[in-house]
């Protein structure tokens, strides 16, 4: 036997909106996402909400419940008092599309900018061998379900939107850490990348990312702080700095070349400003020199494709509002698979030899 509970749900889109009140039935054992579904079935059939697995594994139903970033499917109604008002709002850090659905493409852009796993030289794919003890630290970060709650709660971008350009966020710091700690990753510049391109220095380790992680990844203690210490090894260690000055030791070993010829092989659909560089609009000669000499962080990578939308900027959700049967491709109907290889953000270590 259920009880009626008071809910406030944010309704609206990027042109505005407000919190609306609902009285919804709540039964034993239910989670917040169940209540959102009941709302869709009763009072608010047009309430937009992203969800998929209802098991805390797909990372779709990220929302803010009573002001805290949480997964709707993992927040039990039994954690609230019976007379407590439950307020559900979309993620604050990302632009809203409608109701509880936000545009999280910021995260996908940062993901594309992060250099992929670099295979070890001289080992054929299929021959990769590693010991469990070596790969264990990286495996913790592989638990990430990309719900982006950490990205949403991080005050560096949540409260300061202007930092989005320079700051990749906790999810991509643990990606950098995962690859830097990976026993077979051949790149040696992950920490420089984290510091110079991802904006690791912006993090002031207030640990909110760890607090909200539904997978309980120790983002700060096991990912960000070790990366900060690795950066200290290279950049802020006065003894190392002095040694480099005295012995004129070279810069960072740059073993991998991401060819500058990537520049002209860009995603064809990104014609209108679709191409971007890791460092924004840098025409810095030093960056150019680096691009010639070694790892090119400033190379251009394809922009993520935007979903196919109608003239009002909305996804055609039903056949009634769409001109053909079945759902449109989320990549846009003009994108065909497999993608041409030059559209992938991957640099083979020996690509220049072929």
């Amino acid at each position: 036997m259920g009880t009626k509970r008071h809910f406030r749900v944010w309704r609206g889109d990027d042109s505005g909106g407000d919190l609306q009140d609902y009285q919804v039935e709540v039964n034993e054992g239910e989670v917040v996402l169940d209540i959102i579904h009941r709302l869709q079935a009763t009072d608010a059939p047009d309430l937009a909400c992203r969800w998929n697995c209802k098991a805390g594994k797909c990372g779709s139903c990220s929302m803010e419940i009573n002001g805290m970033p949480k997964l709707g499917c993992m927040t039990r109604m039994s954690t609230f008092e019976e007379n407590e008002t439950v307020t559900v709002t979309p993620l604050r850090t990302f632009p809203v599309i409608r109701d509880l659905v936000t545009d999280v493409s910021f995260n996908y852009e940062k993901a594309r900018e992060t250099p992929a796993f670099a295979p070890p030289a001289g080992v054929a794919p299929g021959d990769y061998r590693m010991q469990q003890v070596d790969v264990e630290r990286s495996q913790e970060f592989r638990k990430c379900i990309e719900c982006f709650l950490c990205q949403n709660t991080c005050h560096v971008i949540r409260d300061h939107d202007e930092n989005k350009h320079a700051f990749a966020g906790p999810r991509y710091f643990i990606r950098a850490a995962e690859l830097d700690m990976h026993p077979l990753d051949a790149r040696t510049d992950r920490r420089e990348y984290a510091q110079a391109e991802q904006g690791l220095g912006f993090c002031n380790i207030t640990k909110c990312c760890t607090e909200v992680c539904p997978e309980h990844i120790k983002i700060t203690d096991n990912g960000i702080i070790p990366m900060k210490e690795r950066v200290v090894d290279r950049r802020y260690d006065p003894l190392v700095w002095l040694g480099n000055k005295i012995f004129r030791r070279g810069q960072v070993p740059q073993t991998f070349v991401t060819s500058a010829k990537h520049g002209d092989a860009v995603h064809s659909h990104g014609a209108q400003g679709g191409v971007h560089s890791h460092a924004g609009d840098s025409h810095d000669p030093a960056a150019e020199a680096q691009a010639q000499a070694g790892v090119n962080w400033h190379r251009e990578v394809p922009k993520p494709t935007a979903p196919a939308v109608d003239d009002n900027g909305k996804l055609p959700l039903t056949e009634l509002t769409f001109d053909r049967a079945a759902a449109p491709s989320p990549f846009g109907d003009d994108v065909t698979f497999p993608l041409p290889p030059e559209h992938l953000n991957f640099a083979h270590p020996e690509q220049d030899k072929h």
């Binding site: 300061h160 207030t206 659909h269 196919a308």
Partner: protein, 268 residues
């Protein structure tokens, strides 16, 4: 006609939510406790450091950690184990060689950074509660860039822990020779906790083994890293416990030195 081709999208706005935070729990409690706790401790420590008395129990050789090592002219001769070479101007703490490093070690500590950025600097006061500042550059510029020097203060703190250990060993003393009292237990517990706090430091965890790429090639360092990691999880608790043991040890030595009560002696 609906177009399904991909198209560049204009910048969208965030959801217009009027409330600064919608959190309903007592998110302000933790920062408040931190402010009260750290504030009280700093006040106590400042008073004690500039008191310049009641730091040494001559009978049992108890020396408070706030005055260790005692290096100014003011120091009682028996208490200055490393000589006294600094002038006795009141503004110079008697442990002027160690206190600045201990302060910097704790100021740059990854746990204390979280604590004071949240509670004193309100950046942010709690998760999903707005930052108290208009702009934010984090630890990318001077002076906060200096937080990266934490590991050097860790090295200093390790040396200072050795000195504190030496003080605790010398304190097994009585006028008859060897002695053992409640004060020794207080000093020992303090030293053990100081070591635990120092070793559980994130920089220590990195130096011991965290920086390695292949644990399998360094089994001993991996073992050590595992141990430090176990302690590191408790770094916050140890940070607060050591503030407690430091203040308690100092207060105990002060009370004995001032003659407020007598040390409970087990042997001599």
């Amino acid at each position: 006609m609906t177009s399904t081709a991909t198209r560049p999208r204009g910048a969208r706005a965030r959801a217009a939510i009027a409330a600064k935070t919608l959190r309903t729990d007592r998110w302000w409690l933790a920062p408040l406790i931190t402010v009260v706790g750290l504030g009280a401790w700093v006040a106590y420590a400042t008073v004690r450091v500039f008191m310049h008395k009641w730091y040494w129990v001559d009978q049992y050789h108890y020396l408070t950690p706030f005055y260790s090592p005692c290096v100014t002219d003011r120091c009682v001769e028996a208490s200055s184990h490393f000589g006294s070479f600094l002038p006795g101007w009141w503004i110079i703490p008697d442990a002027a060689l160690t206190l600045p490093f201990l302060l910097l070690f704790r100021l740059t500590c990854y746990y204390y950074r979280k604590a004071y950025y949240r509670s004193f600097w309100l950046s942010p006061p709690a998760c999903a509660v707005p930052d108290g500042h208009k702009t934010y550059s984090g630890e990318t510029r001077f002076p906060l860039l200096g937080q990266n020097l934490h590991r050097y203060f860790f090295y200093a703190a390790a040396i200072i822990s050795l000195i504190n250990t030496w003080d605790a060993v010398l304190a097994f003393h009585s006028p008859k020779g060897f002695g053992f009292g409640l004060g020794n237990i207080v000093l020992l517990v303090n030293v053990v906790m100081l070591w635990a706090y120092t070793i559980s430091c994130h920089s220590c965890r990195h130096i011991i083994g965290g920086r390695l790429k292949h644990f399998s090639a360094h089994p001993v360092r991996y073992k050590a890293w595992t141990g430090v990691s176990w302690l590191n999880v408790r770094h916050m608790q140890l940070a607060w416990i050591t503030l407690g043991t430091l203040a308690l040890t100092d207060f105990y030595v002060m009370a004995i030195a001032a003659g407020w009560f007598n040390d409970l002696r087990f042997i001599n």
